[in-house]
């Protein structure tokens, strides 16, 4: 493989990562890291640094459309970012203390349980209990559905529970060095009862901020190889932009199933590290 073929392959692979990532609310690392290491022979450390860049590219690339179309909930994002960034710092500080095998096993189990719960919820559109805190924080909103052309109002439940879960999602991303969207979406879906599209679009907006702190450090340390990261970022931006345009037309059930598949794949990847 020569550099030209490498760049073209990295572009194509990352476009797929960005497309999937923007639809399900994650950074696309689940596609980018195995693709770069297994198919293109990139060292795992170089691939992980490029994947942190991919998280930011997915977030910004899709959030252009998601915030403009009010698919993502800006207030929910700001509220939850406080606890998830806190968790991220604690997780990174705890990394040296905890046993990595135990951690990977624990988070893989959590993901599988959350995946099963999300799959069961696919016919359950019921709202959660009303919340005075959600009213006070004006978290409720509505989003447009391009398939029906109607505006869907929704109400946010249990913001305090979501806030607490989001802290642990942050701990997981800090400890495992991942964007953490795979934990953020279930917190919004299961606890706060946000519509699945709003959960993934809001997660997309949030992972840009959680990823930035990590990416800055990688950049300063010289871990980011631009020959790998620049084609990855270009590909991901293209894929994420396409995903964000497709999202309003995708059926909720399809999105939910796609997300559950990604959760199970992530759990398998984590279990493989035990």
């Amino acid at each position: 493989m020569n550099p030209l073929v490498f760049v073209l392959c990295a572009l194509a692979l990352s476009a797929l990562g960005g497309l999937v990532g923007s639809l399900v609310g994650l950074g696309g690392g689940i596609v980018v890291v195995p693709g770069l290491t297994l198919l293109l022979g990139v060292d795992i450390k170089v691939a992980i640094a490029a994947s942190m860049i991919a998280v930011i590219a997915t977030s910004s690339g899709s959030a252009v459309a998601y915030t403009r179309d009010r698919m993502s909930n800006l207030r929910v994002a700001m509220f939850l970012e406080v606890s998830t960034v806190c968790g991220g710092i604690c997780g990174a500080l705890l990394v040296g203390i905890a046993n990595p095998s135990l951690l990977n096993g624990f988070f893989a189990a959590v993901l599988l349980i959350a995946a099963a719960t999300m799959m069961r919820r696919r016919h359950d559109a019921s709202a959660g209990p009303p919340s005075a805190l959600a009213d006070r924080l004006e978290l409720h909103g509505s989003y447009p559905d391009a398939r029906t052309g109607r505006e869907h109002p929704y109400r946010v439940s249990r913001p305090a529970v979501g806030f607490a879960i989001m802290y642990f999602a942050g701990v997981a991303s800090g400890m495992l060095g991942i964007g953490g969207g795979v934990f953020k979406v279930p917190a919004m879906d299961l606890a706060m009862r946000l519509p699945i599209k709003v959960s993934t679009a809001t997660s997309n907006l949030m992972i840009g901020v959680t990823g930035t702190a990590a990416a800055l450090i990688y950049l300063l340390r010289g871990d980011v190889n631009p020959v790998v990261a620049a084609p990855v970022a270009i590909g991901v931006l293209g894929g994420a932009n396409l995903g964000a345009r497709l999202m309003p037309r995708v059926h909720d059930g399809v999105l939910r199933r796609l997300f559950v598949v990604v959760m199970v794949l992530t759990a398998v990847q984590m279990a493989a590290k035990i």
Partner: protein, 148 residues
Amino acid sequence: MSADRSLEAADDGAPSDSSDPGDASGGLEVVISKVLRLGVVASLTVMTIGVVVGFVDGSLSGDRGALDRLIDPNLAASHRLDAAWESLRSGGAVGIMTLGLCLLVATPLVRVVASLVGFARMGDRIYLVLTSAVVALLALSCALGVTG
């Protein structure tokens, strides 16, 4: 949209104050979308120029051996920002691509600062405090040198 919002507000029994929070927030969303678009377009343009320059000046061409040298994991020193800056000054592909990556990484930070300004102008004290907390935590995280 504003009709829906006011209906909802009536359902809540919430006081309908003079400044409609729904509309103001909608305005902020448009501003943030524009900020993000600017960052994305700028970084995309610069990174693409960097890749094209790499192919034109020969730094990204060659055979399998050349690729192995380009993606060698022990090259971290040559990817530090000071080395990239030197490359950028001489119009090198690595420098231009790194500049594009820096613009990309800066975009979410600019988004948070834009939200901060937006909530301040709306006089939304709760979200001003929440957004300030996020900015402070990000600064702390960078100062600690931890990944989060």
